[in-house]
Amino acid sequence: MTRQGLSGGGAVPRFDSVGRTAMGSLRISVTEDAEQESRRWVERLSSRGGERDAALVELHALLLRAARFELNRRRAASSELRGLDHDDLAQQSADDALVAILRKLGEFRGESRFTTWAYKFALYEAAAKLRTLAWRSREIQLDAEVWPLIVDDHGATAQQSVETNERLVALSEAIELELSPHQREVLVALALNGVPIDVLAERLNTTRGALYKTLHDGRQKLRAALVARGLGLDADTEPTRG
């Protein structure tokens, strides 16, 4: 699976005479040596012939290492993942990450080391593949029937628990009355049933970004519903850019 919703191609990033891009003082973590190394990566990957081939081999090795790092890290945290063919998964992740990187090479702005920029593609691919595999045989529940189970008066003795229960009751009404059917499905799947967002995106043929926007809009409605019922949360409810 490659990352959806990201445009590819474009010009090779331009650096000025001292190898700096236009990010100013906030780019303090990128040293001049790192900038030169990043520029060299871009030049080699943008060239033709043997130099490019060598760069591709080197980059793939780095991506493979990053993918293996991610798979090992997650395998250590989950017994469900221990039976998977991790080497094959790492190879697939590195392959897909390399394709994505070459497609988006023109978008590298030199705001980080090139290798850091590249690593995130490999980590993303490995994590997304693992989440997909972990959920491949599991049913994804999109209906809202499960969510009233969150309300339980037993043990609600402390004032905080009482308030939490009041909010959950109010949220149950708001989910039914104020969310669109799509918002309700997405909220139930992601926030209540713990479905990974990219797994749901694949099942619904959409993107992680689009689903998160739906989730966010639903959450904003729920926060507003709490405020309207005098049960607002302490934090503010400013609109977002997301």
């Binding site: 990352r3 919703g5 990201l6 906030l26 303090i28 973590s29 990053a66 790092f69 991610e70 890290r73 978008e107 705001e111 980080s112 080391r113 850091t116 920029w117 690593y119 995130k120 980590l123 993303y124 994590a127 989440r131 189970l149 969150i150 309300v151 339980d152 037993h154 043990g155 609600a156 402390a158 628990s161 939490t164 909010r167 959950l168 949220l171 989910i175 909220l187 926030a191 209540l192 990974p196 967002i197 990219d198 993107t207 970004g209 998160y212 926007k213 989730l215 966010h216 959450r219 729920l222 926060r223 709490l226 949360l233 934090a235 503010d236 409810t237 400013e238 977002t240 850019r241 997301g242």
Partner: protein, 82 residues
């Protein structure tokens, strides 16, 4: 009907309502992740450089995992350099 324990109810409430405040979306999060993590590791104010990133990471578990992974990978590299 079996209900959730108190701690679970708090967690469910947080997941339903999400974090407050302006935040970036998943696309911008991925776009800025490498820069954000390097700034964090350098001890700089990454949130000032990428406003809304921290709130998004609180609200999006998948992006939070991507962030934690990149942070861990770079940290492991830093430790492995002689």
């Amino acid at each position: 009907m079996t209900g959730y324990a108190a701690a679970d109810r708090d967690r469910v409430l947080a997941r339903l309502t999400g974090p407050a405040g302006p935040q970036v979306g998943c696309e911008e999060c991925f776009d800025q992740l490498d820069r954000y993590v390097e700034l964090e590791l350098a001890g700089a104010d990454a949130e000032a450089a990428v406003p809304g990133m921290r709130v998004h990471l609180e609200g999006c578990s998948a992006c939070a995992e991507d962030h934690a992974s990149l942070l861990a990978l770079l940290a492991s590299e830093a430790h492995s350099v002689p």
